[in-house]
Amino acid sequence: MISFSGVVKRYPGGQEALKGVSFAIAAGEFAFVAGHSGAGKSTLLKLIPAIERPSGGAILVNGQNVGNLKRSALPYLRRNLGLVFQDQKLLYDRSVYDNVMLPLAFGELAGREAARRVRAALEKVGLLAREKANPVQLSGGEQQRLAIARAVVNRPAVLIADEPTANLDAESAAAILEIFAAFNQVGVTVLVATHDEALIGRFAKRVLRLARGSIVE
């Protein structure tokens, strides 16, 4: 499903964030990307939806080399990936419902089917009762669940989360990970970057451990 082969990422100025990283994630797998701050976790995850482009090596997502994708092809790649970020990236001038509806606005779905899909996503993350609320009215954990609902509303095959629990207490963090595990159980490939070793320990999943831009475990 996702494979990195000798991937190098060098930022302008010469800083090498990834140094020949290679791994493969099979369809339906759940894996953590672990490592200290600055290890290259975020860079690695940003390469998958081509937010960043690799300086070397090959990245295949569903057999497609995303490093060579044209700019015009990026939206179609990203629609098949569910992305969750540490800072949620929500629209605070829209309701909870409208935030989840956003990815469907440029897809094929419309009307009742789109509304049904949005409510189903909100129900899965336990926010259906708050659909009319503004994101600022939600707690940190709820905002992260909203971000997950938006990420899954298009039913992506892959869910990628960059430090989704970084700003949450242990209980909320575990609840978020449970949601990812639930999606994984229905066949969604999940890749979660975190530096929280305690959290990783609670889930018996594969761990890709990064240190100074290289996979060490």
Partner: protein, 302 residues
């Protein structure tokens, strides 16, 4: 196709939503565009009205040779023959004093004045169409004709019409230049408005790109916003023009009536009015296109 239409509907709704959310700013922008466009549109309307007047006048050079009161019969015939024999003259038409009086009576508002006259004060005249059109040649011809026996006065009739036509041509050019300059101004206004919109929506654009929105999807509402702003400005320009002409026509009507004319400054023809609005909308769209092309590419998810 349905998805495409739906997305356009959504983009139009989003553009209206943005205008509604910033009513004051949107109204001021439309007003600036409206005032700017009303100037060339007004100039065009004024010229169109004047063109209707000048088209009734002959622009071909023509000289009226008025005879002395005592120069009648054989003397007038001799003068006519001499005029026809002049190599610089194309044609000569004799207008008797009786015929001239009839024509004067037929002129609107002058029938009563003519009826009040105790005798016909008009002289016999020859209307001469010269072969020459140059002002210097015409003046030379007029001078020669003035020296002929029996001639009281020579008038170069078409000079005013030619001057008016030249003036109108210059005014048309000035209006075209003004319209071009203001069109650039309109594009600049829209460019800046859309730039500000893009900056205020930076987060939304970034998130939309992150979750799979195409550039076309993101651009669309800004294009409609620019076009709507232009259309609103065009419509306001027509309203300003209509109001201004109505106000001016009060004075123009009085002035024209004193000359026995029903002349009024006319509003733009429906096709011209529609063209003003559509042109304004197109310029708004173009301004948005330039702005979006420049700034949207700079926003990429991080």
């Amino acid at each position: 196709m349905r998805t495409w239409l739906r997305q356009h509907r959504q983009a139009i709704a989003a553009a209206f939503g943005k205008l509604a959310a910033q009513k004051s700013a949107a109204l001021l922008n439309a007003l600036v565009i409206g005032i700017a466009l009303s100037l060339p549109a007004g100039g065009y309307a004024l010229l169109s009205s004047l063109r209707d007047v000048t088209q009734g006048a002959s622009l071909e050079p023509q000289l009226s040779v008025f005879l002395r009161a005592e120069a009648r019969g054989p003397e007038a015939e001799a003068l006519g023959a001499r005029l026809k024999g002049d190599a610089r003259v194309n044609s000569v038409r004799f207008v008797s004093r009786e015929q001239a009086l009839k024509e004067l009576q037929a002129t609107e508002g002058l029938a009563e004045v003519v009826a009040a006259l105790s005798r016909n004060p008009l002289p016999d005249a020859f209307v001469v169409r010269p072969k020459v059109a140059d002002a210097v040649d015409l003046d030379a011809l007029a001078g020669d004709l003035r020296a002929l026996p029996g001639v009281a006065h020579v008038q170069v009739d078409s000079a005013w019409a030619r001057r008016l036509a030249a003036l109108a041509g210059t005014a048309r050019l000035a209006i075209a230049l003004l319209a071009t300059l203001l069109a650039f101004g309109l594009v600049a206004i829209t460019f800046n408005t859309i730039r500000l919109q893009i900056l205020t929506q930076r987060a939304e654009i970034e998130i939309s790109k992150l979750i799979g929105a195409t550039d076309a999807f993101i651009r669309r509402p800004f294009f409609y916003l620019g076009a709507l702003q232009g259309l609103a400005g065009g419509a306001l320009a027509l309203a300003i023009l209509g109001g201004s002409l109505a106000a001016l026509n009060v004075g123009v009507a009085e002035l024209a009536a004193s000359y026995g004319s029903a002349f009024r400054l006319a509003f733009l023809a429906p096709g011209d009015a529609l063209a003003v609005v559509l042109f304004s909308g197109a310029l708004g769209w173009f301004g948005a296109y330039l702005s979006v092309s420049k700034y949207l590419l700079e926003i990429e998810p991080k």
